[in-house]
């Protein structure tokens, strides 16, 4: 799903459109609320050093990265369930 979303965003929107601009186009007030909440009630550092660097990256990048991570995790789990639980048992 995340990879499909990333592909859809990259196809339908300008490829270099920042994530923040994409979210702003969906709900203009969302980021304002989020920014005020984080900077005023948590710490400005979190917004400036974590959120903004993510939000200025291309919009497709975050869902693509999250999708790849999920796909990798799912593949690892699937391999683990198909393989014998432990090879050590047979060796010992």
């Amino acid at each position: 799903m995340l990879l499909v979303a990333a592909f859809a965003i990259a196809t339908l929107e300008p490829p270099d459109m920042p994530l923040g601009s994409f979210l702003y186009s969906i709900d203009a007030d969302l980021l304002n609320l989020l920014q005020a909440g984080i900077q005023r009630h948590l710490t400005p550092w979190l917004w400036d050093r974590v959120m903004v660097p993510v939000l200025i990256r291309p919009a497709w990048l975050l869902p693509a990265a999250a999708g790849l991570l999920c796909a990798g995790g799912a593949a690892t789990l699937a391999m683990a369930s198909n393989n014998p639980r432990s090879t050590r048992r047979w060796r010992s």
Binding site: L23, D29, N32, Q39, P44, V52, L55
Partner: protein, 327 residues
């Protein structure tokens, strides 16, 4: 026996409204004061300065390089906010949405500074700030400032009536709005990295609002040049509206026939509209506007319609129907 104990934030009545503060008390008629104000627009600067000084009673003004005679027509009716609070409690999204942006704002270079005047004017021009200040008469005004977030300050601004800037700009008859643009300095303003916002910060007034007696251009506060975090070196002050209408660090003034879409109106027009006049009876969608917290004092007071400037500005809106005037 009633013993009246003053709170720490209270000032003596004599200081808030000293003897001679009102034109009548000073032996002046309303016409004389208006005449002096009109003279300040059309006469050479030195003559106007002398006329204003002659009609200004001895209200204490804040000493400093930007010190100017206090305009006695605008009595705030409450104590001036301590300077340290005004200098350190700021809303300025170009530097961040938290309140303590004052240190970050020092990165904004204030010199040299010029203002572009364009749009529907007789002659487009760019004026250096120092040249502009030579063409106007500076005065000090003690204004209440009401933020849309339900906090308030009382500030001694130094500057000149916005009407004087209109006289310099000479807008054409077709101009209906005046639009103010804030500087967009990406090196000094980290908030501009948030590219999704509709930078530069833009605000607007109708020509009638801009020509009103209360509309003011500030270039100083507490007798000193306007600091970067407070909108220096030059900003708009329209105290009957919520604070976000008072654009900071102005670099361009455009006269337009079409109503501009202002910065916060673009972000969320249902909460922060074009008119944004203060009204305690019209709540913000997420909080009440009935009361306001006085920054620097441990006090919450009732909010007044038009922030108490109704006698000057209420008539501007009598014919306007079907618009969200108070948000």
């Amino acid at each position: 026996m009633l013993i009246r104990r003053r709170h720490g934030w209270e000032i003596a009545q004599s200081r808030a409204t000293p003897e001679g503060a009102t034109p009548e008390a000073a032996g002046l008629g309303r016409r004389a004061l208006l005449g002096a104000a009109a003279a300040s627009l059309i006469a050479p600067a030195a003559l106007a300065r002398a006329a204003f000084a002659a009609t200004t009673p001895a209200l204490p003004s804040f000493p400093g390089p930007m010190s100017a005679p206090v305009n006695p027509r605008f009595v705030p009716g409450r104590a001036i906010t301590p300077a340290k609070d005004v200098y350190t409690y700021n809303n300025y999204y170009e530097f961040g949405s938290e309140k303590d942006i004052w240190e970050a704002a020092q990165a904004l270079p204030l010199k040299p500074w010029s203002i572009r005047i364009d749009g529907l004017v007789a002659k487009k021009q760019t004026i250096g700030l120092e040249d502009l200040l030579k063409r106007v008469t500076l005065e000090e005004r003690l204004y209440r400032h009401r933020c849309v977030e339900a906090w308030a300050l009382t500030i001694p601004w130094t500057g000149f009536p916005l009407r004087a800037l209109l006289a310099i700009a000479e807008p054409l008859a077709s101009a209906k709005y005046v639009v103010f643009h804030t500087i967009e300095d990406r090196r000094a303003m980290p908030g501009l990295r948030e590219v999704w916002y509709p930078w530069p910060y833009t605000e607007g007034l109708t020509i009638a609002e801009a020509a009103n007696d209360v509309a003011f251009i500030a270039t100083g506060l507490y007798g000193k040049p306007l600091t970067p975090q407070n909108g220096g070196p030059i900003r708009l002050v329209v105290p009957w509206k919520y604070g976000f209408k008072s654009a900071k660090a102005i670099v361009q003034v455009t006269f337009s026939e079409k109503r501009p879409v202002t910065f916060w109106e673009a972000v969320d027009g249902s909460e922060y509209g074009f008119w944004a006049n203060v009204n305690p009876a019209v709540p913000h969608p997420r909080w009440s506007q009935a009361r306001e917290r006085l920054i620097g004092f441990d006090e919450v007071v009732p909010t007044q319609i038009y922030n108490g400037y109704g006698e000057w500005v209420a008539s501007l809106y009598t014919g306007i129907k079907g618009q969200q005037l108070f948000r």
